[in-house]
């Protein structure tokens, strides 16, 4: 099972800055293991962020996003104490959702 | 392999009493070097091509270790002569190879680690420590810049011999130099050293542009 994300959501003026670290291999599918076998591709394909039920950000990724991905984005309309929810799904059907409170 | 190559005179110097005196002050005297060597002997294990024999110091290493890399001048002189005597120049007297091959060797930092396969060829490691061709911006600064080496020092036979022997055995010129003895230890073969000489001394080499 995938590990939790590390999410920071901070209100600066009227903008919420969200910074996320995700635990994921982001395997490209082109590398070989020690025995010479190709390691199958395993990477996050979609990320979406919601605030009060609205999607405030979404991303589509290829395998060239660095391992243990980092993502930063900013949106307006959030208040301290609100929750921001982040979900990723990968090409093997794994999925993870975590949330953070805006500080 | 390395030990067997130590010139006899080196061993004789090692046995001389002056060098065996500890450096530490008398009142807090404790032979930490000896304790360190004993600890190292306990704590290392052979792996891949890196055997425990590598922990045995050869003459030059032992002298440099004992003196903090500053042996007395007369010892330096004698041992540098020994090291110089170890240099084997090519039988045909040809010291220049192909600078393009030299550049490849200079880029290559592989060889002699426990993850490296036994056998040759290994790299020259040159860019790890030296600026060489202006086309390679990722270079180290442990050693001096070699850019424009030939242009500054000339292209004659004397300087070719100097470069060849310096790569073969840097300790012939500076006993406790940080530079490995690539020819002496058998890391680089005759033809490879020629290529590196050409990298520095071929007027066509980017080094001299």
């Amino acid at each position: 099972m995938a590990d939790p994300m590390k999410i920071r959501a901070a209100l600066q003026g009227d903008v919420v800055e969200v910074r996320v670290l995700m635990a994921h291999e982001m395997e490209t599918g082109t590398r070989k293991d020690a025995s010479g076998k190709v390691i199958p591709a395993h990477f996050i394909q979609t990320v979406s962020a919601t605030h009060n039920g609205n999607t405030v950000f979404s991303a589509h990724w290829g395998p060239a996003i660095a391992k243990n991905p980092f993502l930063q984005f900013k949106f307006k309309g959030g208040s301290k104490g609100d929750k921001v929810q982040i979900t990723w799904t990968d090409n093997q059907g794994d999925k993870r959702t975590d949330e953070a409170t805006i500080s | 392999m390395i030990r067997s190559k130590i010139p006899l005179r080196t061993l004789a110097v090692l046995a001389s009493p002056a060098l065996l005196l500890p450096v530490a002050a008398a009142d807090d005297y404790r032979d930490y070097r000896a304790e360190a060597m004993a600890m190292v002997k306990r704590d290392f294990q052979a792996k891949g091509i890196a055997g425990l024999d590598r922990l045995e110091q050869d003459g030059v290493q032992a002298v440099c270790n004992r003196t903090g890399n500053h042996p007395p001048a007369d010892v330096v002189r004698r041992l540098e002569q020994d090291q110089m005597a170890s240099v084997r120049f090519p039988a045909d007297g040809k010291l220049m190879g192909d600078w393009k091959e030299g550049e490849k060797l200079a880029q290559n930092g592989r060889g002699f680690t426990w993850t490296d396969k036994p056998g040759l060829p290994v790299g020259g490691n040159c860019y790890n420590c030296h600026q060489i061709s202006p086309k390679e911006g990722s270079y180290g600064t442990v050693g001096p810049s070699l850019y424009l080496f030939g242009k500054k020092r000339g292209y004659g036979e004397d300087i070719q011999k100097y470069v060849y022997s310096k790569i073969y055995n840097a300790k012939a010129y500076n006993l406790c130099s940080e530079m490995p003895r690539f020819g002496y230890i058998g890391a680089l073969q005759e033809q490879q050293i020629r290529h590196l000489v050409a990298l520095l001394l071929d007027p066509e080499s980017p080094v001299n542009q």
Partner: protein, 267 residues
């Protein structure tokens, strides 16, 4: 950089170039290293380590919450910047990693062999003790290095570490000091901290445990020492051996008073 080079060469001051080029690239690396440090994937491993620390496991079904890292059972905050140190229960100096492994064996009832079967992170995974060490290190963030030198064995470790640091051997005649004994040097583009001085030593101390961009692995000081000896063309130092502790003691004591900002992020 190349444009600058041609300019300088034309002006006849080619000798000044290495310095210029070095400053430019190092500054650029540092700028983006700072960006990475703010959101260092090492935090993901800290979180795993914290969970392991607090969750009962092993044959004795115990957590590590009673582990004594030198400041008393269970005290994690500030412990890392005071290690390696002498532990009376084993009558020896241990680094953080040795101590964590010791706690997993004594508190959780795991065998030493089981814990250390895979000492370092690799593509197949990150061992639990590596996560725990990362967590422990993170709990000393922004604290000054204060490795004790009170016990005779702590002082002895420092002195022996210093000797090993300067010990030249192997086919290339390398010592640790060959690369890490003077200021302002680099290998290729990587700066080589001078570990004999506080400002340099802290770079090594806070670099590991560190998240290594190459391979994206969480690696510890024990790994760093292992790989340094590999690059030094030495044979392999045994995992958690006194030799490694001695060198870690030497560099940590040299970093005395410097603020620890790890876990690190490294090339």
């Amino acid at each position: 950089m190349r444009a600058r080079f041609i300019l300088a060469a034309t002006a006849g001051i080619a000798l000044a170039m290495p310095v210029l080029a070095q400053t430019g690239a190092s500054a650029d690396f540092q700028k983006f290293r700072d960006v990475m440090e703010e959101d260092n994937p090492a935090e993901l491993f800290e979180a795993r380590g914290e969970a392991y620390w607090k969750t009962p496991s092993g044959p004795k079904h115990a957590s590590l919450e009673q582990c004594d890292l030198g400041l008393g059972p269970g005290v994690v905050a500030g412990a890392y910047v005071q290690m390696p140190r002498y532990f009376a229960d084993v009558d020896k100096v241990m680094d953080a990693e040795s101590r964590v492994v010791h706690c997993m064996v004594t508190l959780q009832g795991l065998t030493y062999e089981a814990v250390t079967r895979q000492p370092f992170s690799n593509q197949s995974g990150t061992p639990a003790h590596v996560n725990v060490v990362t967590y422990v290190a993170g709990q000393s963030r922004n604290m000054p290095i204060a490795v004790p030198q009170r016990h005779p064995k702590e002082r002895e470790m420092y002195q022996i570490g210093k000797e090993i640091f300067n010990f030249r051997a192997g086919p290339y005649d390398f010592a640790c000091a060959t690369c890490h004994g003077t200021d302002g040097k680099r290998i290729r583009m990587q700066d080589l901290p001078n570990l004999t001085r506080p400002e340099g030593a802290i770079k090594a101390v806070q670099g590991w445990p560190g998240y290594r961009m190459t391979g994206g692995l969480m690696l510890t000081s024990q790994w760093r020492m292992n790989d340094c000896f590999r690059q030094q063309r030495f044979p392999e130092p045994k995992y958690l051996s006194d030799t490694v502790t001695a060198i870690l003691t030497y560099q940590a004591v040299n970093a005395k008073g410097q603020i620890y900002r790890g876990p690190g992020i490294k090339r």
